[in-house]
């Protein structure tokens, strides 16, 4: 075998191995969702079934956990995007030395282990509730409320980083120009800054929601007596599981694929439009 052919074979082998490593588990899990076997497994194949999807939708724990995850995700988006934006704007207005101190402070939640954020959120609100003599059904002990706060404390930092990156490309003279033309600071914010930041706002919303949705190590403490999708799943795995989890995975993969394809298609359509415009201008 010539060395060129050997290189080719080895490259193909490596690529195959890489994709097997990346997608193998997903494929096996996808197959197991349709296998009649009682445990999530692709082999032996004992027959096609949609029963696990049926079971999934009738699993009240899972459905409730899923709903809670959605609520918490929405809550985290509503809180952390504005907080992240505000933090980024403050950052952009600070002078050099103050900036590095500020940066260290606002970045610290991101570097703190999620477990510690979870425990400290729980302890803090529990102490506060006790001190104020609050009832057990108040928000001091509400898992959804605590999870939103706990997750927001570090997810807002992620959002801030996204906004900082975008703000660095903002021309402050535009702000001054708008002020000079008579705009109030509020109008400058909504008419000049927000439109400029729109892509970053979108990215921050998606990131905040996804990070919240898949969070486990903070949520497992802050959720108290409630449950989210991740905590329900973790519980199931511990107790031994059935392929309805695989069915859930298949659904999530499908949603992701559809979303990613839609965004990619839109991007390509825009690129085509710009290319057509450029061609038209050259033609003139």
């Amino acid at each position: 075998m010539s060395s060129a052919a050997l290189t080719r074979v080895m490259t193909l082998f490596y690529v195959a191995l890489f994709f097997a490593y990346l997608f193998g588990p997903l494929v096996l899990m996808g197959i197991s969702a349709f296998n009649t076997e009682k445990y999530p497994t692709a082999v032996p194949w004992s027959g096609f079934t949609l029963e696990w999807f049926n079971k999934l939708f009738n699993d009240t724990d899972l459905v409730r956990g899923f709903q809670n995850s959605l609520i918490i995700g929405a809550g985290v988006v509503v809180l952390s995007v504005p907080i992240g934006l505000a933090a980024a704007i403050i950052m952009s207005q600070l002078h050099k030395r103050a900036r590095s101190i500020y940066y260290a402070v606002v970045l610290s939640p991101m570097l703190t282990p999620g477990v510690i954020i979870g425990i400290s959120t729980l302890v803090f609100w529990d102490r506060l509730g006790t001190a104020l003599d609050a009832e057990w059904d108040t928000f001091f002990y509400d898992g959804i409320f605590l999870s939103i706060l706990g997750q927001t404390s570090f997810i807002s930092t992620f959002c801030m980083l996204i906004f900082i990156a975008r703000l660095q490309r903002f021309d402050r003279a535009q702000e001054e120009a708008a002020l000079d033309l008579g705009a109030s600071h509020l109008r400058v914010f909504f008419r000049i800054l927000i439109p400029f930041l729109r892509p970053a706002v979108f990215a921050a919303i998606v990131l905040a929601f996804l990070t919240s949705f898949e969070n486990y190590n903070t949520t497992v403490f802050t959720i108290v007596s409630e449950s989210t999708l991740t905590t329900v799943l973790a519980g199931k795995v511990r107790l031994g599981t059935d392929p309805s989890i695989s069915a859930l995975a298949v659904l999530i993969i499908l949603i992701t694929l559809v979303g990613a394809t839609a965004i990619e298609l839109r991007k390509r359509a825009e690129e085509r439009k710009i290319a057509a415009q450029l061609a038209a201008e050259k033609g003139l």
């Binding site: 021309d171 001054e176 120009a177 002020l179 033309l181 008579g182």
Partner: protein, 361 residues
Amino acid sequence: MSADVELDHLTIRFGNFIALSDANLRIPAGSFFSFLGPSGCGKTTILRAISGFLDPSEGHVRIGGEDMAGIPPNNRPTALIFQNLALFPLMKVWENIAFGLEVRRVPKAQRRERAQELLELIALPNQGEKLVSELSGGQRQRVAIARALAVEPEVLLLDEPLSALDLKLRQHMRTELRAIQQRVGITFIYITHDQGEALIMSDQIAVMSQGVIQQIGSGPDIYENPKTPFVASFVGENNAFAGRVASADAGHAAVETIFGALRGRNPAGLKVGDQAVLFVRPEILQLGAGTQGNALKSKVLAKEFEGFASHIHLANSQGERHISFSTSQEEALGISPGEEATVHFSPDRAIALPQGELAHE
């Protein structure tokens, strides 16, 4: 409507640094006024103080007689054109122009109409639906002016708006800006380090150096009658000869230079023995010994060809470059580097000033 602008003992400090020192002047309503100076001389500071982005450390800015202290930029009757224009990239051209009206809650139909009028004023009709990024540099320039004019300011402030354009366009825009100013009739305050721009467009010019206004006057006045060595050396080309005053009367002073005693006007009343600088503009130097004295014997160092004229550099006996002047092509033909040359000038057109700061090239 157009308003006059008055600076009354205006001083601006940043920490210990004095960006602007005790500026006093009155800019008449409806005039084209330029602040001219090298970068870092404080001219942008003045502009930001007038527009309200900087608070005076001392003194007052008055527009139309009204003290502007405490009035923020969005409530002043001024509009500023930024050096980088600061157009809004996400808005269409007409939305850019009508932004000031949008802020003032003018209905959309009226805003469009006004934008249309302004687009015609700046000779860009039917370009309103484009994005700013689709316009050329000169077109953007004009959009920035239209956007500022849309709010009907009493004073338009321009911060070196032409500096990013190439030479031809810059020359064209000078004429254009002056024409727009005369059409709308409001006060234009223009900041520039380019003396050509200032001389061509302005009714009056204030020459600045290191936070101090050196001289205020019309272009010809500043060019012909500089009050300080800085103004003489910054505005236009000038040959400077330093030396001690050898003789002086009310009208003229003779300065003892390396080329011998040379005579020029003496507006500052220099006395015998004073340290002085004699300024001789290149265009008043003529080949030959002349009849009134003031002849400089020298050696031709180099000859540069520039289309309409040739520039001749002359050296003193040590071979150092000391004099530059321009001459017609025919005359230049008779001169070549290395040869002896004698030039002379009329004492009434040269000027002797007390020693002081010179502008660096």
